[in-house]
């Protein structure tokens, strides 16, 4: 079958379609009836969905990775060998006392 013959065949197979005002009106009526019958008219109010939506709004998507990174960093820091702790540190008050002159200078 050549291309024009194919086109003729397809076009000859198209039945007349009723697009009367009555049919269109019926369609409109059915759509509105369906809207009134079911809650598809608007997005439903679902408390659980609203809760998660609010939670997502309050915590941006990068907040959780940042918190996890902070916890991981803290744990890593705590697990490192802490050499400074072995050195006895002189309290600051002791140093001040020790360095202070027992008597006023010049006497």
């Amino acid at each position: 079958m050549t291309a024009p013959l194919l086109d003729d065949f397809v076009r000859s197979s198209l039945p007349p379609i009723d697009l009367s005002a009555a049919r269109l009106s019926q369609l409109t009526t059915s759509v509105f009836a369906e809207i009134d019958r079911t809650p598809v008219g608007r997005p439903e109010f679902r408390p659980t969905a609203m809760f998660w939506q609010c939670l997502r709004g309050a915590f941006p998507r990068y907040a959780i990775p940042m918190v996890l990174a902070a916890i991981f960093g803290g744990l890593l820091g705590a697990s490192l060998p802490q050499a400074d702790k072995t050195v006895s540190q002189t309290p600051l008050s002791t140093l001040l006392t020790a360095s202070a002159p027992s008597q006023p200078l010049g006497f």
Binding site: M1, L5, L6, F9, S12, L14, I17, V40, R42, P43
Partner: protein, 205 residues
């Protein structure tokens, strides 16, 4: 008075055509729950959608259901519609109706071709209608043997009242890719029809 009245009505008609809102404006109204805007949107597009769907699915009942579901989707999704000038509402609606119609056609079991029925109405119009019905059954069978994208391209070309560029937009293809797809579809349809014993118009007489 009559003359003046006619002038007034013409003026009114001109004014109303000037302020006739476009699809985007009607969608904004629909999103806000304005039923008149939604009804106007339906009135504007339902003819083309019913014609496309009925030619794809082959019967009034399924076409009505498909178009009804599409408009319900419009009502539900209207608040999410982004008016940025990039997407045309009619393109989106065509895509929704076409895909739903092709899905419906694939799901519907096709009756054996032998059951197409005898021609009971001997008048010329009756004969034409009966032949068209038989050809439509054969065509539907041949179309369902094709890959979905080719079916979509052929459906828009033969059944949709759209231009080539608009068809490409509906199928989300470039114009050249859409034309290539259509050419492949026509080749496939010819083979598919030949496999059913149809090689010309005379085979269905």
């Amino acid at each position: 008075m009559v003359h003046k009245g006619n002038h007034l009505s013409e003026d009114d008609a001109a004014r109303s055509s000037e302020i006739e809102p476009d699809d985007d404006a009607l969608l904004v109204g629909t999103a806000a729950g304005d039923r008149r805007a939604f009804q106007r949107l339906m009135e504007r597009h339902s003819r083309a959608m019913l014609a496309l769907s009925q030619r794809v699915v082959g019967n009034t009942h399924d076409a009505d259901e498909v178009v009804q579901e599409a408009f319900l989707k419009v009502w539900t999704k209207a608040p999410q519609w982004q008016i940025d000038g990039k997407a045309k509402f009619s393109t989106w609606l065509y895509r929704v109706v076409l895909n739903a119609s092709l899905d419906r056609l694939r799901r519907t079991p096709l009756a054996p071709l032998e059951d197409a029925g005898d021609i009971v109405d001997p008048t010329p119009n009756g004969l034409d209608r009966a032949l068209a019905t038989q050809r439509q059954k054969v065509l539907a069978r041949a179309m369902t043997a094709l890959p979905p994208r080719q079916q979509a391209a052929l459906s828009l070309h033969y059944f949709g009242d759209v231009s080539g560029p608009q068809a490409a937009e509906i199928l989300q293809l470039s114009l050249s890719a859409c034309e290539a797809l259509l050419a492949r579809g026509k080749r496939g349809l010819r083979k598919s029809l030949a496999a059913l014993g149809v090689t010309g118009l005379g085979d269905m007489l």
